[in-house]
Structures are given as structure tokens and as C-alpha cells.
């Protein structure tokens, strides 16, 4: 078993029934349990209010319990995990979580505590730029009674100091960072509809080999639209190359724009290497499966799909290695 974790500041963890199995990634979902780290709030809503701390503040979270339970699950031991109720702001009675093959932990602080961090086999940080975060929250909240541009802005700003202090620094520990930025294809775009997305992949991570475009390690700028492929406005642009990120050596793959048609996606997939697919067209097939999900036609969907394939690959390597070492041990 291994763990991956996701930081997601803009949206709370998705809950789909007990021990939530999100259907968002069909590549691994039948072997996966997702736990939401909000369940490890040590202060409920009233407690946070009394102390004047946000949920982003480590003081509102029980890292000892988080570590104990993630460790137990990794060791194959079931746990009684608390449940934080986002509507009432209270802790509900705990639920039994059995050790899964793949455990995903998602929330605000997956990489904050070094003990928890060290348990993870792979980690992902979703880094949403301020512009895009604002646009997404408007999209999410504007129709809500009581909300206005001012309230959305105020909420982001009031939480920003804690976000900068406790959440953002975690990205330096992530094996993969997905950065979501405004497009550069449309001059002065402030619409937040077309996105530029970067997949920053750490080099030298066990079981994880970064994706590349055309030639591993080179610096490449690629516009797939042209004689062989027609794209609609504002087009699609890729970039790839080595870089450094928090003094780590990384490879960065970037996509600006969005896919409007099937052949664009297939064309792009056929030019990417190391994507850990099991057959030609698997990325395209996965993305079509989720065509009704937001972002499924841009870099957020493409890179999440690729990360899903990488996670499956990582899992299979770990399982294979464990099986091999068991055989080895039996021989002795």
C-alpha cells in the first residue's frame, strides 16, 4: 500500500458516502479509500471561533491522531476515524476505516507534519493562482444568497495570511505540483475560463518517472495546431523542459488552452512519452470518460489524468517489488 495526498484549498474534500470512494478517478478507485484531513480538526467551528483561529491554522488540527491513524492504515490496521461535519461544524461519531490497497489523504495539511509526510509514497499539491482562485470562487458562490464580489474577496483575503503561512509552503515537499494559471494565449485575459496549467514533476522520486515531450531533458515549445491539426480559438500551446523548484531538480510540462475536439487530444497524447498508459489512447479514453467534469478539456484534466496513470503505475511497482521480496525471503 502507498499513499498519495492532495492539497486542495479551493474545494473541500469530496465525500461520497462512508469511507468516501470518489468516482473521480476510475483508474484506481476500486482499490482506493480517500480520507479527508478535515476529520482531524481538533477544534470544531465553535472552538475555532472562540480561539480566533482558522481551520488552516495547525492549532486547529490534531496531527498526532492524523499520524497515528495514517500509520496504522499503512500497517494494515483498521481505525475509528473521526468525521468532521462541514455543515454543522461539529465532529460526528467516528467511522471504521479498513486498510485499503491505496490510501489517499486529501486536505489542507497532508505535508505539514513531517511524520505524516514520511509515510507518503507520493504527494501532489494543487497550486491555484490567485486570479484563478478568485474566478472559481465567483463561479461557485455568486449565486449564493448573501454573497457578493466583496464577500468573496474578503473571505479570500482574511484567510490569506494563514494560507501563506501554513498551506502554501507544503508545495516544496510535493512530488508533483499542478499549477493553475490564467492563459497567456489571450492578451490581458481576465475571464478565468481558458487556463494555463503546469505539471511540475520532481526528479529522482522512486517509482516515478516524469512525463516528457519529444526529447527527455530538452527545452521545448510546441504548438500542435497547424497543418496537421486544426484548433479553434485561442489554440493550444505546450512547453516542456528542466527547471528547479525550491532547489529541487524538476521537469515541467505546461499546457495552455483547451481541447475542443477528440482528434486534438489524441494528437497530443501520441506526442507525450512516459505517460504510463497500458494501451495507445488511454489518456484520451480516460478524459472522455470524465468529459462532464469541470476542467476535463484543459490542462487540469489532462494532468490529473496523467497523475492518475502515474499513481497506478507506482502502485503496481510497489506491489511487484513487495511480491518479489517475499519470494526472495521464502527462498532463504
Amino acid at each position: 500500500m502507498w499513499e498519495e495526498h492532495i492539497h486542495e484549498e479551493t474545494y473541500q474534500c469530496f465525500r461520497r458516502g462512508k469511507g468516501g470512494n470518489p468516482d473521480s478517478n476510475t483508474l484506481i478507485s476500486d482499490t482506493t479509500t480517500v480520507i479527508c484531513l478535515d476529520d482531524y480538526h481538533s477544534l470544531d467551528r465553535t472552538g475555532r471561533k472562540e480561539k480566533g483561529v482558522t481551520a488552516l491554522d495547525p492549532r486547529a488540527n490534531d496531527f498526532d491522531l492524523m499520524y497515528e491513524q495514517v500509520k496504522a492504515l499503512k500497517d494494515g490496521v483498521a481505525v475509528e476515524k473521526p468525521i468532521y461535519n462541514h455543515v454543522s461544524g461539529l465532529l460526528d461519531p467516528p467511522e471504521l476505516i479498513k486498510p485499503p490497497k491505496i490510501l489517499v489523504i486529501e486536505g489542507l495539511h497532508p505535508m505539514f507534519d513531517s511524520r505524516v509526510r514520511d509515510l507518503l509514497d507520493f504527494s501532489i499539491y494543487l497550486d491555484i493562482s490567485n486570479e484563478v482562485k478568485f474566478a472559481w470562487k465567483i463561479q461557485r458562490d455568486m449565486a449564493e444568497r448573501g454573497h457578493s464580489l466583496e464577500s468573496i474577496k474578503a473571505s479570500i483575503e482574511a484567510r490569506k495570511p494563514d494560507f501563506d503561512a501554513y498551506i502554501d509552503p507544503q508545495k516544496q515537499y510535493a512530488d508533483a505540483v499542478i499549477e493553475v494559471l490564467p492563459t497567456q494565449l489571450i492578451p490581458d485575459d481576465n475571464e478565468g475560463k481558458v487556463l494555463r496549467v503546469k505539471l511540475i514533476m520532481k526528479e529522482g522520486v522512486k517509482y516515478f518517472s516524469p512525463v516528457y515531450l519529444f526529447d527527455e531533458g530538452s527545452t521545448i515549445s510546441w504548438i500542435p495546431c497547424g497543418r496537421k491539426l486544426t484548433c479553434s480559438y485561442p489554440g493550444i500551446k505546450f512547453a516542456y523542459g528542466p527547471d528547479s523548484y525550491y532547489s529541487n531538480e524538476v521537469s515541467v510540462l505546461e499546457m495552455d488552452g483547451q481541447f475542443d475536439r477528440l482528434d486534438e487530444l489524441i494528437y497530443v497524447e501520441s506526442h507525450l512519452s512516459n505517460i504510463s498508459t497500458k494501451f495507445y489512447g488511454e489518456v484520451t479514453q480516460q478524459m472522455l470518460k470524465h468529459a462532464d467534469f469541470p476542467g476535463s478539456n484543459n490542462g487540469t484534466g489532462l494532468f490529473q489524468t496523467i497523475v492518475g496513470l502515474k499513481i497506478r503505475d507506482l502502485y503496481e511497482q510497489i506491489v511487484a517489488e513487495r511480491a518479489a521480496s517475499t519470494v526472495e525471503a521464502a527462498k532463504v
Binding site: R48, L56, K137, R140, I186, K193, P234, D260, R261
Partner: protein
């Protein structure tokens, strides 16, 4: 691979050629009504800038786009929508209990920040707004999943009941 130019381009992308229009589903009719319409609303509201090369004439927008094989953009998503002056209409309303809590929390946050908007109390109050707003959004998603028409259209997007129309 077939030449993409040979087949008529699926006209699924008016928002990208005409960023001054936004598409959102108006589904405020009763659930029993089988007719579902998406409406293209021309937003004459504040626009910070209009990208060059934009086709902003309404007549440029195809009247009844067919859903292409790739049904991108058929649902309102993270990326859909303008940053400014847009009042998105949620096709599924927020359950009233949560909706009231969101509204109440915003009022309380404004009060909590009235004296000092850098206090812990102020941040905690706006944090509660964020938590409840996210919960409201999830509740809407859940309600949508349990909507029989939505579920049907997910599997049968090409049927008449599930066609979306523009204007």
C-alpha cells in the same frame, strides 16, 4: 488519423470564440418538465477587457449546437464563467438549511471584522463562510447527482430531452 477538416467541426465551442458570452443552464423549471434549456445570455455587464479578435455579434453563435462526441462544456464548471459581473444561475438550488447558514455567516463575518479586520476573530469568521460556501456547493452537486433528469442525460446526452439550446 482522419483529416479533421473533412468533417464539419462540432460547433461546441461558442464560449471560446466569443468570450463575451456565457452559457449557463436555466433549469429552474420543475423537475418533471422534460424540457431542458441552456441559454446563451449576452452579458452586457461590466467587461474589464474584450480580447482582440473576439466575435461578439450574437448572430455568430450557432443556434442549436449539437452535442459533439466530446461533450465538453456542457456543464457549468470551474472554468466556465466570467470573473466579473456574472450572476451564475445554479441549476440546482442550495438546500435551504445550508443556504441560510451561508448568508448568516457572511453577516457575522462582516460584524466580526468591523472593528479590526486583521484579528483572528475576523479570519475565523470568514473561514467559516468559506467552509459553508464549499459545503453548499457540494450539497448542490449531490442534489444534481440525484436528479433523475440529470442522471438520464448523463447517459443519453443526444436525446431530445437533453439537448441544450442557445437562445
Amino acid at each position: 488519423m482522419s483529416d479533421p477538416r473533412r468533417s464539419p467541426a462540432p460547433s461546441k465551442t461558442p464560449p471560446s470564440i466569443a468570450p463575451s458570452f456565457i452559457f449557463f443552464k436555466l433549469n429552474n423549471k420543475t423537475k418533471n418538465q422534460v424540457e431542458k434549456k441552456a441559454m446563451a445570455a449576452a452579458l452586457s455587464g461590466v467587461s474589464l477587457s474584450t480580447p482582440r479578435g473576439v466575435i461578439s455579434s450574437k448572430s455568430e453563435i450557432p443556434k442549436a449546437p449539437k452535442r459533439s462526441l466530446v461533450s465538453w462544456n456542457t456543464k457549468i464548471g470551474y472554468g466556465a464563467g466570467r470573473m466579473v459581473a456574472v450572476q451564475p444561475v445554479h441549476s440546482t438550488p442550495t438546500p435551504s438549511g445550508i443556504s441560510g447558514k451561508v448568508e448568516e455567516s457572511i453577516e457575522k463575518a462582516k460584524e466580526a471584522c468591523a472593528g479590526d479586520n486583521e484579528s483572528g476573530e475576523c479570519a475565523a469568521a470568514w473561514d467559516e463562510v468559506e467552509e459553508l460556501s464549499a459545503a453548499a456547493s457540494h450539497a448542490r452537486d449531490k442534489a444534481k447527482d440525484s436528479d433523475p433528469l440529470e442522471a438520464y442525460c448523463k447517459d443519453n446526452p443526444e436525446t431530445d430531452e437533453c439537448r441544450t439550446y442557445e437562445d
